[in-house]
């Protein structure tokens, strides 16, 4: 089950907690993996921990030309992109009254617009090959909202609507488009929270613990697999029961 031998994946934000775990999991199932992100050294470390089927292409998701270059370089490295995991994301938290236009725009630019641009570039080859898996890492807050994250929640909700539209456009070509929505996962992004904040969050998680990046990666592996061919336009919530939607 879930064998990805012969498949090629592109994972953005691959130096992060969830992105790194996703890259390792896809690699572990036999896929070739292109690791992308802004931090070339951190990406090299992930690549070194994998093996011959892993490649690094650093790119900025707020730069349209760089995204085009990434798609071409990834296809050049592995011959194709069968599986695209749009995981790259940033936060610029602030209460809305104080949120600067720049904070709003940067988050939308990277998390939503960049994802759309990369997906648009990657689906050309997928259409030609009549196979594709696009997996967008959204967030529980895209569905529930979160104070201080109007920008991030808007971008993540946007990914869900975008994925449903793409799923309908591409289903007839055997390309599926789905989202994985993590709840609170132990990563550098959530490490930044204070102990009080973490305690408050855990009070809302029936599983009474943070999730692990590997638990998110397992959902991605499933959606990337041949076995998930009939699943499209869906959002898989992995959140310890924090929200049941």
């Amino acid at each position: 089950m879930f064998d990805l031998t012969g498949k090629a994946a592109l994972v953005t934000g691959a130096s992060g907690g969830i992105g790194g775990a996703v890259a390792r999991a896809l690699y572990g199932q036999g896929a070739a993996v292109v690791l992308s992100g802004t931090r070339a050294e951190a990406l090299e470390q992930v690549r070194a921990s994998l093996g011959d089927r892993a490649h690094v292409v650093a790119a900025r998701m707020d730069d349209a030309a760089d995204i085009e270059r990434l798609a071409k370089a990834a296809e050049a490295a592995t011959g194709k992109i069968d599986i695209l995991v749009n995981n790259a994301g940033i936060t610029r938290d602030n209460i809305s009254m104080r949120m600067k236009d720049e904070e709003w725009e940067n988050v939308l630019q990277v998390n939503l617009t960049g994802t759309f641009r990369l997906t648009r570039a990657a689906i050309r080859g997928m259409m030609r090959r009549r196979f594709g898996r696009v997996i967008n890492i959204t967030s529980i807050v895209g569905v529930t909202g979160n104070p201080g994250q109007a920008n991030y929640a808007a971008a993540k909700a946007g990914l869900i609507g975008m994925s449903k539209s793409l799923a309908q456009e591409l289903a007839s070509r055997s390309i599926t488009v789905n989202c994985v929505a993590p709840g609170f996962i132990a990563t550098p992004m959530t490490d930044a929270l204070s102990a009080d904040q973490k305690k408050a969050i855990l009070g809302r998680v029936p599983a009474d613990r943070l999730g692990t990046p590997e638990e998110i990666a397992a959902g991605v592996v499933y959606l990337a697999s041949d076995e998930a061919a009939y699943v499209t336009g869906q959002t898989l919530h992995i959140n310890g029961g924090m929200a049941m939607i």
Partner: protein, 79 residues
């Protein structure tokens, strides 16, 4: 010229699964040959490959009939 027309028609027949007799130059991909909007994107991609050319989006949008495709390719093809 006729060679381009033959190759274009062959691609249309293969891609849309229509009879060669239906693929007249005035035939519209969507209205006459049953293509959907994704099919037209794929046809353009197939023409690009077959003739080693690039068809920009604004030009692709104007290619609505078999004849439009033949004319565009004839005036832009290298091979």
């Amino acid at each position: 010229m006729s060679d381009v027309a033959e190759r274009v028609k062959k691609i249309v027949v293969e891609h849309l699964g229509v009879e060669a007799a239906q693929v007249k130059e005035e035939a519209k991909f969507i209205d006459d040959l049953g293509a959907d909007s994704l099919d037209t994107v794929e046809l353009v991609m197939a023409f690009e490959e077959e003739f080693s050319i690039e068809i920009p989006d604004d030009a692709a949008e104007k290619i609505q009939t078999v004849g439009d495709a033949i004319n565009f390719i004839t005036s832009n093809a290298k091979s």
